[in-house]
Assembly symmetry: C2
Homo-oligomer: 243 residues x 2
């Protein structure tokens, strides 16, 4: 018997604490100018009837990212959604049943993709994040209030230097649509003229198409449509006012 074989036998006997690992996903979209997140109403105890982030156990043979993608697909039917790990939560009593460590993810889809995701039943829908985060009051199941608050903070921070904002838009979008993403998530008003000059000057961020946006009922000059460029980050960043 080799050293390694001996070790592997020993190791089976090691008493490591029984822990379950789950992934939870905060899926965001922009709806009516408000940042919204997908929640599932729990049908079982604990927290029966309460709203919670979608998620579930990781399976043998799948990586954490794959588990998050699978859970999102199972709960919403969405595929090819950009997922990004937020952080992990593992307070001993965060699940009353047993020790559960959850690895959380952030996902973003355009509003148009979102309805399919949540249309199947009354127990899955998008909620305005603002309404779910009243200071100090617990609203969601488990520690999902904290996770949601952290997720929103991360999204707000990432707008400054990542391409995340564009994921809230259709593949082709106008600069005004992009600006409304920033305005909704940061809760500020941005000068349209300065915003336009800023984003168009960031190398690799936006690629102008020869298309124009359809006319809106409000009138006004049609806007050019842009696609996402090849940049991986915003250099220089779009700085958040008043922060």
């Amino acid at each position: 018997m080799t050293d390694e074989q001996a070790f592997l036998e020993d190791y089976d006997a090691v008493r490591f604490p029984a822990v379950a690992v789950t992934v939870d996903v905060a899926l965001f979209t922009l709806r009516a100018g408000r940042l919204c997140v997908l929640l599932i109403r729990r049908g079982d105890h604990p927290f029966k009837g309460r709203w919670a982030l979608p998620g579930g156990f990781i399976m043998p043979g799948e990586d954490l990212d794959q588990a998050a993608a699978r859970e999102l697909r199972e709960e919403t039917g969405l595929v090819d959604v950009n997922l990004e790990q937020l952080r992990s939560y593992g307070a001993p009593k965060r699940d009353p049943r047993m020790r559960v460590v959850t690895v959380t993810y952030i996902a973003v889809v355009p509003d148009a993709d979102a309805p399919d995701a949540a249309s199947d039943a009354a127990d899955a829908r998008f909620w305005p994040v603002e309404d779910l985060l009243p200071a100090g009051r617990k609203v969601l199941a488990f520690d999902h209030d904290k996770i949601l608050a952290d997720a929103r903070e991360r999204v707000q921070a990432e707008l400054e230097h990542s391409l995340l904002a564009a994921l809230f838009c259709e593949p082709e979008f106008t600069i005004a649509e992009l600006r409304r993403v920033y305005e909704a998530i940061w809760g500020v008003e941005l000068d349209p003229a300065n915003f336009q000059r800023k984003v168009t000057s960031i190398p690799g961020f936006l690629i102008a198409t020869d298309q124009q946006s359809g006319a809106t009922s409000a009138g006004g000059r049609p806007a050019r449509l842009f696609r996402l460029g090849e940049a991986k980050s915003l250099q220089p960043p779009i700085s958040r006012p008043g922060k």
Copy 2:
């Protein structure tokens, strides 16, 4: 039997995949102008003899942050070290023995605190990060190369807008010492004059004491000593050149 009691009984029977959860800590310090990280030489299989980040299983009743603090204390004797979660890694085969998900942390200490940490034996010491991250080559045990690379990237990014740099310094430090932290971790040279003006103008960052640094063998005017202020982040940030 209530609904909830029934559920709890059912739940014991649920077959969730057997997973172990560990915490790993990347403890950084600055030594001879180089960013260094604490590694432990593994005495057992797998990866016997290879260097790895310190870490271990989480215990029942302790939160993830507490587990990281405990592991750091057990391996180095250090207490009251600022720990920050990096992210989690859970590829199915990252540990050949079984499914292990690790939650990783970043810690930072001044050089003066570091020797105690690693002085106990030949199998715990600080290594220059630069020497451990040759492009594409695997050096450390498990997936710790990837973890270390991600940790360094996070540290580099956090210098821009957090107070992290000051944690590499003693409680009272000179602006030149602070500047050398930035220079070492970013791998750049910064203009001393502009750096001085920049950091002293960030509100809440530095508090001037009435002390002066001791004289160095090289001569030169003694520098004022500063303490960390009450700010939680750098506003405006210290921007990284050429990035």
